[in-house]
């Protein structure tokens, strides 16, 4: 069939019938979208839709029940009755889901005409379609992922989700109530001191919390890549433990670690000779939290914080209805047209529209997301202030 601009896929992205199908094909093409790995995916699962109430709130409540503490039996005389046991205390907190949008994409009719003339000249819209997908749509979807990363890391490392980046609103979203927050200091010495006994501190903190909670959960210690390299891997106790166990593994005597090459101090050997050799030692999860926001390097990880938390997911990404979809589908001006495509497991909404501007039209694209990563394991989550020694 002869190529025509009218039937080109790029032209039909804004079509109210075919548009969502074409946008969906682009969104599901990994070569076009080139989505990078994102932190929130490793720490949060995709949760449910929380409807927005007529009062305007999309509120959620996270409940947690502390396990019942074990005890000993009470001695009794024959036929004596006893006292019942206390049940686990229930904790809860609530918050509300907020809305976000990526930078908008607008194209006036004359700019469009220029582009269509190009399509005609080349006899294919493949290049323009790929450009649109990789340079316009993909970065806007990626912005949504960075937003979720930012909120996930702030929530995990401060127990508060406040959005204070971007060009729009700045607002609090939710926080673990102060009385439920568990924050401890580093131990006898700050961990930045290479002579600090980090390994003992980690085990002491974990065992103290296990006793307090009444349950021995498998745990992980989340730290940043910089912290792992510059603090943990430069700690004297860690280095000696790796070298000693490495020597033993090589069938050599334990004494004389000073002759062991520094090149054995690797993440792999840390996991093999430290994490795996100390019974109950938490899994070290090394994160890469840094991101580029508006050409500036931003590190949302709270400085000096290591997070001790249960293995597995920290919570769920909850989402709510996006009002634009209802307003413009039901009440949009007939001179305009709108189409909507969900993406990112339903977290984001791509809204394409054609809006009159004078005697001509403008094409618009918005990527919207009303979703927030919500912590649900807060009762077993400990922030370690590694820069502050115990008082």
């Amino acid at each position: 069939m002869r190529f025509s601009v009218e039937n080109a896929a790029f032209t039909r992205i804004w079509d109210s019938v075919d548009g969502p199908t074409i946008v969906n094909m682009i969104l599901n093409d990994p070569d076009l979208m080139q989505v990078k790995p994102h932190y929130f995916r490793s720490a949060f699962t995709i949760g449910e839709l929380i409807p927005t109430s007529i009062h305007g709130d999309a509120s959620f409540t996270v409940k947690a029940e502390l396990p019942t503490h074990s005890t000993v039996m009470d001695m009794r005389a024959p036929l004596g009755e006893g006292k019942p046991m206390e049940e686990g205390e229930a904790l809860e907190y609530s918050g509300s889901i907020k809305g976000f949008m990526s930078p908008t994409w607008d194209e006036t009719a004359p700019a469009r005409m220029y582009k269509e003339k190009l399509i005609e000249k080349y006899g294919s819209d493949a290049v323009i379609l790929k450009d649109f997908a990789t340079k316009d749509l993909a970065p806007r979807v990626e912005a949504g992922y960075y937003t979720l990363d930012y909120l996930a890391i702030r929530a995990e490392t401060t127990l508060k989700a406040r959005y204070d980046v971007g060009r729009g609103l700045r607002s609090n979203i939710y926080a673990i109530p102060t009385e439920y927050r568990q924050k401890v200091t580093a131990g006898a010495k700050a961990w930045t001191d290479p002579t600090a006994d980090i390994l003992t501190s980690i085990m002491d903190i974990q065992e103290g919390k296990w006793l307090e909670w009444g349950i021995e959960l498998p745990m992980q210690l989340k730290v940043t890549e910089d912290f792992f390299k510059n603090v943990i891997m430069k700690n004297e106790g860690v280095i000696n433990t790796i070298k000693t166990n490495w020597l033993t593994d090589q069938g050599q005597l334990v004494a004389g670690t000073s002759n062991v090459s520094k090149w054995v101090i690797t993440e792999e050997n840390f996991n093999k000779y430290v994490a795996a050799s100390i019974p109950g030692f938490p899994k070290i999860t090394v994160t890469k939290p840094k991101m580029i926001i508006d050409k500036k390097l931003v590190d949302p990880w709270e400085d000096g914080i290591a997070v001790l938390c249960p293995l597995g997911y920290a919570g769920r990404v909850l989402r709510t209805d996006i009002l634009d979809e209802e307003v413009y589908s039901k009440y949009g001006n007939n001179a305009s047209s709108f189409n909507f495509t969900r993406t990112a497991d339903g977290l984001m909404l791509v809204m394409n529209s054609i809006i009159p501007n004078g005697s001509l039209n403008e094409r618009h694209m918005k990527v919207l997301m009303d979703a927030v990563p919500v912590l649900s394991d807060f009762q077993y989550r400990v922030l370690i202030d590694t820069k502050t020694a115990n008082a």
Binding site: G47, E48, I50, P51, H55, G56, D57, S59, F60, T61, V62, K63, A64, A90, E92, S94, G95, K98, G99, K160, R162, D164, R167, G168, L169, R170, S171, N172, I173, Y174, A175, G315, R316, L318, V374, S376
Partner: protein
């Protein structure tokens, strides 16, 4: 476990009756047909910086001011609250008109007679007590006790003041409520407080213009009426992207 609402079981019957003062719906849009261009939502929307501190209502056609920085980013949103004096007064008792279509005053509000220019200065006073009362001719009023004397003539329009610099809190008008908003939560005292996660905040996106009948809109002080672009008596028209005033 995540639930939408608070947990808890109460095997009995709870009494949650509560007086509601939401007010009525007052339609004030002027029905000129044709291509009006009012219903265009503004950039970002905003967190309302001066929400009503209790149950109250922002009405269709009510005016707001979105403050943006020089790059049109980081919005702050203020609503214009207006009150009409029911009687002249010179002391610390202020009587303002009360019906179902008015902004509701609250203890803690800072009020002033609307200055000659939007955002201008004047004498401000804080509301320390309020009660429902009637004028001698039987009109429903809010009788407010103030912590400072205000000189007010009958029919004067009062606005929200800023006690820090004795000025009108709202510094401009550039957007409008396209429909009523009911305020039903207890808001944070300072919506910008980074540590207040407990109390409510209101986020909304007003529209850039409004065309309506002035007598049905919330009382408009003279300094704001100067913005009116309509040349029809009794009709308000203003579009912030096409303002000639």
């Amino acid at each position: 476990m995540v639930e939408q609402k608070s947990g808890g079981v109460f095997l009995g019957r709870a009494r949650i009756a509560k007086k509601s003062t939401n007010g009525g719906a007052r339609h004030c849009t002027a029905s000129f047909q044709g291509m009006k261009n009012d219903l265009v939502y503004i950039l970002w929307g905003g967190v309302l910086a001066n929400p009503f501190p209790g149950r109250a209502k922002l009405f269709e056609g009510d005016m707001l001011y979105q403050e943006l920085d020089d790059k049109a980013e980081h919005p702050k949103l203020y609503c214009l609250k207006t009150y009409e004096a029911a009687e002249a007064s010179t002391g610390t008792t202020l009587k303002i008109v009360k019906d179902g279509f008015r902004h509701i005053p609250f203890v803690g509000d800072t009020l002033m007679v609307a200055p000659e220019t939007i955002g201008g200065t004047g004498t401000v006073a804080n509301v320390t007590a309020k009660k429902v009362s009637k004028t001698t001719d039987g009109q429903d009023i809010w009788e407010l006790t103030l912590d400072a004397a205000l000189t007010v003539a009958k029919g004067d329009i009062l606005v929200e003041g800023n006690a820090e610099d004795n000025s009108m809190l709202v510094k401009g008008i550039n957007c409008f409520a396209p429909q009523d908003y009911d305020f039903v939560f207890e808001p944070a005292a300072d919506p910008e407080d980074a540590e207040d996660f407990e109390n409510a905040e209101y986020e909304l996106t007003p529209v850039i213009g409004f065309t309506g009948f002035i007598h049905r809109m919330s009382p408009i002080p003279a300094c704001v009426l100067k913005l009116n672009q309509s040349r029809f008596n009794g009709v308000w028209s203003f579009n912030a992207l096409n303002a000639s005033v």
